[in-house]
């Protein structure tokens, strides 16, 4: 008795040249806005995919204004292409209803999506992760051995404390870390905390992004999102990523 989806899922990830899981451990630090902006920025230069693995708090479909139709089927499922980004999310199938599922069920849904999605020739897959260090994070470590992790934090010690735990696991598991983005920085925030955190794990501090009071009103309309300073910041950071 065995599960046919495991082998193909593992293989699909293994052959990808560039996988960027956007992680933190902490919630609400900007993983979804960063990963969505990053995939849009990368898509200007590479064939790019975006996979939303936050099944309980799916957000990227809102930012991308994704269709409410099922993605096309053709020997599998073809991700919807939005402004050059091939996008897959469980939100296509929940009809925007709550998805109260336990970790074991998450793992099953994750394998299912991976087994049937045809990413075809994408060069770079950005993965938007949920917070925490439960089944989604552990499944990622098990199925994606070749990720280049992008770690998001805010300047707050409530975030850095948790992010340091994520960095500890990534480093201990010898995974590649592209660096740390310090998001939602305010004037007056401790300017050393996150730099020290990055240094202590020997990862790059990739830059600060200010707290933009009006970012939220630009979300939901893609053209609007791309015209924000936030997007330009992420685009600039994306240029320097070692991918």
């Amino acid at each position: 008795m065995f599960d046919p989806r495991e082998v193909v899922s593992r293989e699909k990830f293994a052959i990808m040249k560039c996988i960027i899981p956007v992680v933190s451990g902490k919630g609400g630090v900007g993983k979804s806005v960063v990963s969505t902006a990053l995939s849009l920025a990368l898509a200007e230069r590479h064939k790019t995919g975006l996979l939303d693995l936050d099944f309980w708090g799916a957000s990227a479909h809102i930012l991308l204004n994704a269709s409410d139709q099922f993605p096309e089927e053709e020997k599998g499922i073809l991700p919807e292409e939005i402004r050059g980004v091939k996008f897959m999310s469980v939100s296509y199938y929940t009809q925007d209803k709550p998805l109260p599922i336990r970790g074991k069920e998450y793992s099953d849904a994750f394998l299912e999506l991976m087994a049937v999605t045809r990413w075809n020739d994408i060069e770079c897959l950005v993965i938007d992760m949920p917070p925490g260090m439960a089944d989604p994070f552990l499944d990622l470590l098990q199925y994606v051995k070749n990720g280049s992790f992008l770690v998001i934090t805010t300047s707050s010690r409530l975030s850095s404390n948790i992010v340091s735990k994520t960095l500890k696991i990534l480093k201990e598991q010898n995974l590649k870390v592209l660096g740390l983005i310090e998001n939602m920085r305010s004037v007056g925030d401790d300017s050393e905390r996150i730099r020290d955190l990055a240094n202590s794990f020997n990862v790059k501090h990739l830059g600060y992004i200010p707290y933009y009071h009006n970012l939220d009103i630009h979300l939901g309309n893609l053209q609007d999102f791309i015209s924000t300073d936030f997007f330009q910041k992420i685009k600039a950071i994306s240029m320097g990523l070692e991918i």
């Binding site: 599960d3 046919p4 193909v8 020997k75 599998g76 469980v90 599922i101 849904a109 299912e112 087994a115």
Partner: protein, 135 residues
């Protein structure tokens, strides 16, 4: 027609398992189809028969076993069947066909109304056993 990708998964993983067992040829693959996912047996069969060409499964027969779906509530221990869940809307059936876990977005325990239930049997596709020749 997303069944094709599941057929690919079945073939790849069966061949991988066969190699692990030092088999030279795959003769039979027993595939369980869970009622919840409502996979079209004919399409999987057709896909497998065309995918197997030129592989060690070329002569294999694919046997299908249908498994009824049952649910069990973690809150009140009630058990019920897919039929009793009474899912009628086509778009919901279609959603579950793609990702069976989204059933938790659409149905509740038939006794206590909890969303916290388990799909005990009949969730989706898996391989029950493979047989082959080792020479």
């Amino acid at each position: 027609m997303h069944e094709w990708s599941l057929a690919e998964a079945v073939l790849k993983s069966s061949i991988k398992e066969a190699k692990k067992r030092n088999l030279k040829k795959l003769l039979e693959v027993k595939i369980v189809l869970g009622e919840l996912q409502a996979i079209e047996e004919e399409i999987v069969k057709f896909s497998l028969d065309s995918l197997k060409k030129g592989t060690m499964a070329e002569e294999a027969t694919f046997v299908f076993i249908n498994e009824k779906a049952t649910f069990k509530c973690r809150n009140c221990q009630n058990e019920w069947t897919l039929k009793e869940a009474n899912i009628n809307e086509e778009s919901i059936k279609e959603s579950i066909h793609f990702v069976p876990e989204v059933v938790h977005s659409f149905i509740r325990c038939t006794r206590c109304g909890s969303p916290d239930f388990e799909v005990v049997e009949g969730r989706g596709i898996y391989i029950d056993e493979i047989t082959g020749e080792d020479l």
